[in-house]
């Protein structure tokens, strides 16, 4: 038996456990850390599929940047856990209904009708010189050039929107001007004064 199925089942078990714990654990920081573990293991499963670009970018973007900011926020919140658990029974029917609907939807979409072995046979193994990164780049910048550019513009719009939403003028706030600080010379700040030496009473002699 080759080692790959063993690795796959180990990573899958860790992934499913971590994903379940994200929802179950009470401490939000622990939940965020389990989410990071889930990202990591799914990256490992992608690596088994020879999709190294996606795997590494998942770690780079989600684990390296998004989750850091997430933890940053969660750690600063002082969450009182008891009120959060109130009304568990009251909301239970709604929650179960939503869960069932989502489960059914997922079963329809990822079920055997769309992702069965006929539609999605095991991908062929590529040689050692196969580069997933190159393939992705080639297809993104040729076949999907316009969708790619449109996605980029949408992201840019989102950045501009986020900055505009948070920007406010505060006339009373004082800012430094680094250029001014760097350009300052001694003569601007210090004035040398020439004074006669004072002649005090000489008590000791």
């Amino acid at each position: 038996m080759s080692i790959e199925p063993v690795l796959f089942y180990i990573f899958s078990a860790v992934l499913v456990t971590a994903a379940a714990l994200v929802v179950v654990v009470r401490n939000p920081v622990h939940a965020a850390l389990f989410l990071i573990l889930a990202f990591f293991t799914s990256a490992a499963i992608w690596l088994l599929l020879e999709a190294e670009f996606l795997a590494i970018v998942l770690v780079l973007v989600y684990v390296g940047a998004v989750m850091v900011l997430f933890l940053f926020v969660v750690m600063m919140l002082d969450i009182n856990l008891t009120p959060l658990r109130e009304g568990f029974i009251r909301y239970l029917p709604v929650g179960v209904a939503v869960a069932v609907i989502v489960l059914l939807e997922m079963a329809v979409v990822v079920g055997p009708g769309n992702f069965g072995l006929e539609q999605m046979p095991a991908p062929p193994r590529h040689g050692a010189d196969y580069s997933n990164t190159e393939e992705l780049g080639a297809i993104l910048y040729t076949v999907y050039a316009y969708p790619f550019e449109i996605a980029a513009v949408i992201l840019l719009v989102a950045i501009v929107a986020a900055i505009t939403l948070t920007m406010r003028r505060r006339p009373q706030a004082k800012y430094q001007n680094p250029a001014e600080q760097v350009l300052v010379r001694r003569d601007d700040r210090v004035r040398m004064v020439k004074m006669e030496a004072e002649k005090g009473e000489n008590k000791e002699q």
Binding site: L33, G64, V68
Partner: protein
């Protein structure tokens, strides 16, 4: 000898590969750990001489056994877990700080073909792993259940996220110039002579990358995560004994990593500086790894020199430098490099 060979051949092939990989890992990690130990001594000596002192000179000849004495001392100290701290995360955090710093060496080319994992996405792998080192600090700060530690962790997280973007963009420029994500190919793209190395066409990126590396490793003058004078020692204030030592191992391993990466990306890695000159054949006997180690030593000395020379940056100035100076500069240089590649500017992009 024959018996050993027979034993070796009787092992299944998968296990053989695994054993070879483990041996290679040991051959990389053990020298790194030794360099970390002696880098601490070098730091104390260099800073000592910069401040007109002698530095440690009591343990062993000229103080050469000082790191070993330090290590033994730290092993025998008690690891104290603060009350109401999260015990598991508190003890895991130092490991999380150290692991990425060591794992990144897997793709480092020490010489032509002398690399543990010659993967095509090497640069991405490096970026992903260097972005993970912040977790050790954040988790340590939070799990300590201490205000100073949390403040240090938050400072550090904001700083590392800011400088990571500049580092990533600087590496994007390198990958544009080299046309490959494989670190070995990046070095091969710099072949020719001293002026073919990327430090010259990508000079601003070279500076941005190394300075961001200093900031990313939380070294002086960007060491506000520790900030002894304001928040006593920042994220590792509650740590003692070997857990504390692991943070230092991680910091110095990261310094060595940044030094190696800067050498590979901008100073031609294992390439000889005399390539293409009349001295090339005179120095042909020097192995490539010696040049790489020499270049790394220069950057490591710069790390120590910075620490001995500059006062600590103010926090808002660190943020300004990262977001408002380095990131715009890298974006501009991406455009400049694009134009240079289109115009086939020699001798680098033709």
């Amino acid at each position: 000898m024959d018996i050993l060979l027979a034993i070796w051949n009787s092992i299944p092939e998968d296990i053989q590969t695994l054993l070879v990989i483990i041996l290679k890992i040991v051959a990389i990690v053990v020298p790194i750990m030794l360099s970390v130990a002696y880098l601490t001594l070098a730091e104390r000596k260099v800073i000592g001489y910069v401040q007109v002192r002698i530095g440690p000179n009591r343990v062993g000849p000229r103080g050469l056994l000082q790191p070993i004495a330090d290590g033994i001392k730290l092993v025998f100290k008690e690891v104290i877990v603060p009350s109401r701290a999260n015990r598991f995360l508190f003890l895991v955090a130092p490991l999380l700080a150290l692991a990425p710093a060591l794992a990144a060496w897997a793709v480092m080319p020490f010489d032509d073909g002398m690399v543990l994992a010659d993967i095509n996405a090497g640069l991405l792998y490096i970026l992903a792993l260097t972005s993970l080192s912040v977790y050790g600090i954040i988790i340590a700060g939070w799990a300590s259940n201490s205000k100073y530690a949390l403040l240090g962790a938050l400072r550090s997280a904001a700083q590392v996220v800011a400088y990571e973007i500049a580092m990533g963009f600087a590496l994007v420029v390198v990958l544009m110039a080299a046309g490959s994500l494989n670190l070995g190919d990046i070095v091969r793209a710099q072949e020719g002579s001293l002026i073919h190395w990327f430090w010259l066409p990508l000079l601003p990126m070279f500076v941005v990358y190394f300075l961001s590396g200093v900031a990313e490793t939380n070294r002086a003058p960007f060491d506000v995560a520790e900030g002894e004078s304001e928040i006593v020692a920042g994220f590792h204030v509650e740590y003692s004994g070997m857990a504390f030592a692991l943070f230092f191992l991680a910091e110095y391993a990261n310094m060595i990593l940044i030094a190696a990466l800067t050498s590979v990306m901008f100073l031609g890695g294992w390439l000889s500086p005399f390539q293409g000159t009349f001295l090339e054949s005179t120095f042909a006997w020097v192995p490539g790894i010696a040049w790489l180690l020499g270049k790394m030593a220069v950057f490591l000395f710069l790390f120590l020199w910075f620490r001995a020379t500059f006062p600590r940056y103010r926090y808002d100035q660190i943020m300004r430098l990262g977001w408002k100076v380095f990131i715009p500069l890298t974006i501009v240089w991406i455009l400049v490099t694009g134009v240079a590649i289109l115009g086939e500017l020699g001798p680098w992009f033709d």
